[in-house]
Symmetry: T
Subunit: 140 residues, 12 copies
Amino acid sequence: MPKTYTIINGPSLSSIGKREKMIYGSTDIHTYFKTLLERYSFEFHFCSSESEIIECILSVTAAGIVINPGAYTHTSLAIADAIKAIDIPAVEVHISNIQSRETFRRVSYVSSVVKGTISGLGLHGYRLALEALESITKPK
Amino acid sequence: MPKTYTIINGPSLSSIGKREKMIYGSTDIHTYFKTLLERYSFEFHFCSSESEIIECILSVTAAGIVINPGAYTHTSLAIADAIKAIDIPAVEVHISNIQSRETFRRVSYVSSVVKGTISGLGLHGYRLALEALESITKPK
Amino acid sequence: MPKTYTIINGPSLSSIGKREKMIYGSTDIHTYFKTLLERYSFEFHFCSSESEIIECILSVTAAGIVINPGAYTHTSLAIADAIKAIDIPAVEVHISNIQSRETFRRVSYVSSVVKGTISGLGLHGYRLALEALESITKPK
Amino acid sequence: MPKTYTIINGPSLSSIGKREKMIYGSTDIHTYFKTLLERYSFEFHFCSSESEIIECILSVTAAGIVINPGAYTHTSLAIADAIKAIDIPAVEVHISNIQSRETFRRVSYVSSVVKGTISGLGLHGYRLALEALESITKPK
Amino acid sequence: MPKTYTIINGPSLSSIGKREKMIYGSTDIHTYFKTLLERYSFEFHFCSSESEIIECILSVTAAGIVINPGAYTHTSLAIADAIKAIDIPAVEVHISNIQSRETFRRVSYVSSVVKGTISGLGLHGYRLALEALESITKPK
Amino acid sequence: MPKTYTIINGPSLSSIGKREKMIYGSTDIHTYFKTLLERYSFEFHFCSSESEIIECILSVTAAGIVINPGAYTHTSLAIADAIKAIDIPAVEVHISNIQSRETFRRVSYVSSVVKGTISGLGLHGYRLALEALESITKPK
Amino acid sequence: MPKTYTIINGPSLSSIGKREKMIYGSTDIHTYFKTLLERYSFEFHFCSSESEIIECILSVTAAGIVINPGAYTHTSLAIADAIKAIDIPAVEVHISNIQSRETFRRVSYVSSVVKGTISGLGLHGYRLALEALESITKPK
Amino acid sequence: MPKTYTIINGPSLSSIGKREKMIYGSTDIHTYFKTLLERYSFEFHFCSSESEIIECILSVTAAGIVINPGAYTHTSLAIADAIKAIDIPAVEVHISNIQSRETFRRVSYVSSVVKGTISGLGLHGYRLALEALESITKPK
Amino acid sequence: MPKTYTIINGPSLSSIGKREKMIYGSTDIHTYFKTLLERYSFEFHFCSSESEIIECILSVTAAGIVINPGAYTHTSLAIADAIKAIDIPAVEVHISNIQSRETFRRVSYVSSVVKGTISGLGLHGYRLALEALESITKPK
Amino acid sequence: MPKTYTIINGPSLSSIGKREKMIYGSTDIHTYFKTLLERYSFEFHFCSSESEIIECILSVTAAGIVINPGAYTHTSLAIADAIKAIDIPAVEVHISNIQSRETFRRVSYVSSVVKGTISGLGLHGYRLALEALESITKPK
Amino acid sequence: MPKTYTIINGPSLSSIGKREKMIYGSTDIHTYFKTLLERYSFEFHFCSSESEIIECILSVTAAGIVINPGAYTHTSLAIADAIKAIDIPAVEVHISNIQSRETFRRVSYVSSVVKGTISGLGLHGYRLALEALESITKPK
Amino acid sequence: MPKTYTIINGPSLSSIGKREKMIYGSTDIHTYFKTLLERYSFEFHFCSSESEIIECILSVTAAGIVINPGAYTHTSLAIADAIKAIDIPAVEVHISNIQSRETFRRVSYVSSVVKGTISGLGLHGYRLALEALESITKPK
């Protein structure tokens, strides 16, 4: 049975909880996702290339997407175009508060094509995004 | 008994659900808060002036703040300074996706002084912010 | 009986005709409005705070608004949002020619949400704005 | 006997009321001017070239000028220089609200050399400009 | 008998010496003003709203003003306009060195309308400003 | 016995009181310093070259520096670097209000490396700077 | 019988093939158009003034326009407005590759109001534009 | 026998004619290319990654290249460098008129390294580009 | 016999010496040229349109050009292109010092395509330009 | 036995010495590395994709990295993030002097996360980088 | 007897005619000045430091100054301030056409404080400047 | 016998190893140069003024230059012009990584006129620069 949601992660996110703990916290992202799976139905991907993310987006069949494009957030117009090309609601997540970091991290090509954005709330951002998708995608 | 959280809203937010439904949706914000109160302990304020918001922030005794400064988000440095001056975690909420609107709405003085930001997810943003605060403020 | 129009003035405008006559002329604004009342039906407000202006706008029941936000013209997004939130036609007036003054006075948040703008024509601007409203609001 | 005022129009304005009615309205500008002539004494010109407008300005002998330079508003420094070179009060008119259109239409070389500007009030702008000139040019 | 000078403070300044001591030092501003009153004749105000500051400025009858608009320094054109509207010499004070903080704190609307500016010298800035006013306002 | 403070002046400042009196006033700077020496212990330098100022800064043994780099304020990174390289508190002085002059005079490389800045208060700025240094450098 | 298409050329284009051959090539534009006339039905204009181009555009009765506004491409808003005012599809042609020349040649007011743009392909650009118009204007 | 030309397409272009028909039209790109192959000799590629496009360019042995880098047009300097590194003439094609879309789509790294650019003419752009290459590459 | 040089003047220059004497001086330009003709062989033109100037440039047969494009200096790329298209040395003249006037007068499209520029030296600029041309064009 | 250092090269660098010799010189990079291996212990990679470089960086076990990201230098934030994520000193090398080429090549995301940068010194840059790493990584 | 004029040259100008002949020509500046001295009364200076130029300006007693600040033109505010501080008319000369070189050479601090500027006319610029000074300084 | 190379240092560099050790390290630059002299033949200069550096450059007779202009790197066009004026290869050295410091330190006038740049590698940068010069200047 297909999972209800798809979580797509950009480069370096696989090591969250292991490196640069000052910025990203010390919870292991894999452990976190395991816990999350107890409550939500989703599959997840860690992609290190832009094209992998794009292909991932274009082949999604789930009811909603949670996307954290990592560093590509700020440079990839192609990822934004891919999200725009499909008809599935997406929520953007950033683990750290990108508004309080370097200036070039304040520009997001992705933000304008998603339903909404959650940033700075650590790994909880993923859970909140799934909840948001539940609200958005549930039949009214 | 003091409420656990405080929600502070900027100008015009009181009429959410009544005007400009295309942008902000048609759910009445007061009804929504009433429902939310069944599950979360919070008090809320609708302030139409910058100084009212500032005084509100400076007098908060709750464990966490949810703030939606409305149009002041993009012009008020004084509100950001007030948040920075206190020691209580704050989460910024925007009902609409400010990144897909006018350019001047993409600048937020507040974003860099809060824990995190949730935007574009409608009134659900408030609930998600309260949940985020619960995660942040609960004893570990 | 409610007045047909509402004139809303920002800070410092109450002293027009008394101070800085080089820029704003020497006709007393109160005297001018008195004369104007012989011909047009309107009420008027002098507000020194941004929130007072906002509340004034949101509570208008007249057929049209003449607004001179003074210095807030160039800094208040919240006032512009308030005008956008209501359905009443508004005309922006500036006593001096804001295009021939300092650079930061050339940006107007308000201009893009009103019907039209009249600037540089002194207190006559108010009369012209009322006439414009008459043309706009009269049944065709 | 010479006319009291001169109205100078830039390119494309002659067809107001016939094309792009969404932006400029459906009243024929020639019909409008005919009606206006019943009350005000003026001559008017429709010029499609920048130099025609300049020569028109430099040869004006009327008591005041109403000028709508159309697209030249935003690109012609030479027209602004011509207005500055003469001693006759001028009022700038724009039929549509130039502040709510494309960014490059927000710059006006002309605004800083005229008495005042009226924009966004449709063809009424011309009438209001003539009235403004009457106030400005009448003996005190 | 009216005080010789008026000190006007913007939002958050009332708590100087109590919060954010790293930036603003640990001397209590109220204690400091008390000491200062032994030597200088002045009244002082702590205003948390922009309009309160404006009204304060417009009603000053003292011989000189010391103004620290806090965060409004960088965003309030209306306060600058109010200072320009009166004929009383003003000196701007900033407790911290605003040039060595965030970029947006380097712009001051107020600086260009006051006699002079003193910044970065802590609470001493107030005393120096009063001395400067004494030099400026004493009969020659 | 070494002087307590050092005042370093940039080019053209030696003729203050003699030229451009409209901007800088008519008090002779040498006379002023003579009077000031009655109350404060300091030596002073008038340097017309950037390197002279730098060498002056690097060889200071006094307890504090008052520096008015004149036109170099806005162009010399090397002077700022020299101030940063030493451990002696410095106060920047500008005779005229640099914020109300040409745009390029609003940038100061020096402001971010000194304790504080005093500008627009004429020659009094030097006295206030010495007082500020006294407060800063006195044993607590 | 009216020609099917109209080619409108801006200033200096008449001498293509005679001057500045390094940039524009050595084929004579008149000879080229003669050859082109064997296959396509069109009339063509060489206009050296902005207003001539505008009048030319506004009086077109052909099924499509090929326009090369030369240097006016980058400075004339009035030409763009004229194209926008009519209902005939237009294709913009540039003989040289304007993207690989000076920066100010990269801005084109015209590009956003035409169907499409062909640049850098020499005189062939005209033929390609005519073919494009054939595809666009042929009945489906 | 090697094909005469190579068409290289960036991400998402493979679905032209199936998605976002408002912007890109409803003709299937594969069907279109099949028709085109009846008249021109070429091979074509759909690449979803930047590096795939680069490798494709660097290995071309055809007489000319038609390239539509899609979203990479505006962000990939590496693709531009690859085109510059080879000696084969290239023509850039964009299906939609990139000048009338978002601002960031107006910058093209590729435009300055190709022979010429064709944009806004739909799938016809590919045919026109092949014709342009025929003119450019045919022996004189 | 053809004149040795050609002087081309832009709009409004014909009235130099009659209007705006504060900026341009009170010497009549026609009188000045008459005197100049006693010593130099030249013809001169006063053109009020951009295209007239362009045609004038393109038809020059003299050994050198003196050009004062007036307000077109700052806006006309087409005039610069015309100068670049011919092989005759040109010297640009401005009567007033364009660097000490408004910011937009500091950009000159013409400056980069002429031999040299003379500005701020009043009508003498024309004589100096003719002398410069004599030096440049005389056989060595 | 693992190599002491790792050299990572971006796209197109593999053909250094074969193409664009004017910019990059005519020494074959493979021959050069062979010679270099006689003296230094390192492995090297030529990657044409961004993700390949990222994976390469994240899996490095050597004592130091020499990185020449080619065109990705100026566009890839993800590569910079990868370098920042690991704890191994890196030196950036550019064969040509990127400061004397196009403006967009002057921005380097990578420069701020490496120890240092060597540019413009041709293939020698690699040798110098290895020497620099030897100095940095040798036990003190 | 004091010379009538003073010519002040910035760094590197002493070698004009010996180095970089492509840009500055091959006439020796010393030989040129010798010839010029046959007709004009002037002294000249070659200064390699900014302060030497400033001191030179401040001590001038001649009737007029010709100044070529070389590279300092674009970076020295202090030289501009020195010219502004004295009451002697100055003419700025540049041997090459600074408008057709690098962008940063188009900004001149000096241009706005001199009478006029002559650039691009080679060493003749000096002679023309002296002639201009003769016109300006001769009694009327 | 003349030294093979010349090392030119800007202001404040003489104290490297003594002050601001956090940024520049704790090795004494004089000691370092002494060690370096055992292997390379060079003379070195510490100049605190811009003109001293310029004169130093213009009088060099060595085979190559190593230059570290310190703070002048970012502000002195005159130094860059001097390097360009001579025919001796130069390598720029910066002890700290200027790309990871303040924004204004990222602009280097010098970088575009030297062979190459080495930055961020501490005092080793000097040795690497000498090696680079050896490679560049050795007969092939």
